[in-house]
């Protein structure tokens, strides 16, 4: 895009960089609104199933480790801090700080997905899949606390895990997309500065929304 203004990053249709940045920001916010509605449908599925089958949600707690969920919460909150700091660095023209904060955010996103990978693979290895394919292994059932072993395995446990995999999985896809966006920002690093930081801000806003969704997913699945 070439512009007729003072910087090479100004698109022709905008009066100045500020108008361009503000317009881009509005576009990102409207996209975030659609993301909230998108996750709203998934939260509806969770709520309907929870309202009707609370016993499933209690039982499923025996298979979800809150310590891993809490660890991942701290990882994502820290990555939100580094993403917000990246916007600050871009606005102030601190290119070394921008590189550092973007790399840290990218790496924390990777840590989140690695923890998620271990959670998923441990479950799938023990037969805890989604829908009708959910058959917990004798091994994992034997490892449950006494209070859980006294209970029969609920018939619809697979439906709980369908909701679990769908919600955390789609959130995970968002984390993966976020990593791609941070890599894209790192490639364009030399272009950013006090006049040109809209892309850093837009990606950071998206990343904060991914963090916001996890802020709700963590207590809903791991704690209550």
């Amino acid at each position: 895009m070439s512009g007729g203004g003072s910087t090479p990053y100004l698109a022709v249709q905008f009066r100045d960089m500020e108008a361009q940045t503000e317009t881009g920001k509005l576009g990102v916010w409207l996209f975030l609104g659609s993301e909230i509605l998108f996750f709203g449908g998934l939260f509806t599925a969770y709520s309907v199933y929870r309202a009707n089958h609370i016993e499933l949600f209690r039982y499923a707690h025996f298979f979800l480790d809150w310590r891993l969920g809490a660890f991942n919460t701290f990882v994502l909150l820290t990555s939100s801090l580094s993403a917000a700091w990246a916007v600050r660095c871009a606005q102030l023209g601190q290119r070394r700080g921008l590189r550092l904060t973007l790399v840290v955010t990218f790496l924390l996103a990777a840590v989140f997905l690695v923890v998620k990978y271990f959670e998923y693979s441990h479950k799938l290895h023990n037969g805890i899949a989604w829908g009708a394919a959910c058959h917990p292994s004798a091994e994992i059932l034997a490892s449950l606390p006494d209070t859980a072993r006294a209970l029969p395995v609920p018939v619809h446990l697979g439906t709980f895990f369908s909701i679990y995999y769908l919600m955390t999985g789609l959130h995970g896809v968002h984390v993966l997309v976020g990593m791609g966006l941070f890599a894209w920002l790192l490639r364009r690093l030399p272009t950013f500065g006090p006049d040109h930081w809209g892309a850093v801000d837009g990606v950071a806003l998206y990343w904060h929304l991914v963090d916001l969704v996890w802020i709700f997913l963590f207590p809903l699945f791991y704690l209550i």
């Binding site: 916010w29 509806t44 009707n52 809150w66 909150l77 917000a84 600050r88 930081w197 963090d211």
Partner: protein
């Protein structure tokens, strides 16, 4: 979190962008960490139905902190707040009405299933 910035907040069309200060960023993340510890601690207590209320209440407080400081909503145009809060309200309406509906019909459904189970199979 009350720390203001290094350059003044400005209405659209004039002046420099708002830059969030390090103190505000670090204060926000400390607040978020503390609330994460609180929500785990509260979930260890058996409060009955209040566990759900406490968990969602704390999550909402965390969400407000992220939106206000990290997402700059505290410092800038109201229209972004309208988009965020408006969409959150519509998502909550969807959840709320669907849950009212499903819990209203659930007793009838369970009675019907029990009656069907009593009937001899053909």
């Amino acid at each position: 979190m009350t720390e203001r910035d290094t350059s003044a907040s400005s209405p659209a069309g004039h002046g420099r962008p708002h830059v969030v200060s390090p103190a505000a960023l670090l204060g926000t993340v400390a607040f978020l960490f503390a609330l994460t510890v609180v929500t785990v601690a509260v979930s260890r207590l058996d409060l009955g139905a209040m566990n759900v209320v406490a968990a969602l209440g704390i999550a909402t407080l965390k969400a407000i902190a992220v939106a206000a400081i990290f997402m700059h909503l505290r410092y800038e145009g109201r229209f972004h707040v309208v988009v965020l809060v408006g969409c959150a309200i519509f998502a909550a309406l969807l959840v709320g009405f669907v849950v009212f509906d499903t819990t209203r019909y659930q007793p009838d459904l369970r009675a019907h299933e029990a009656a069907a189970a009593r009937r001899p199979a053909r």
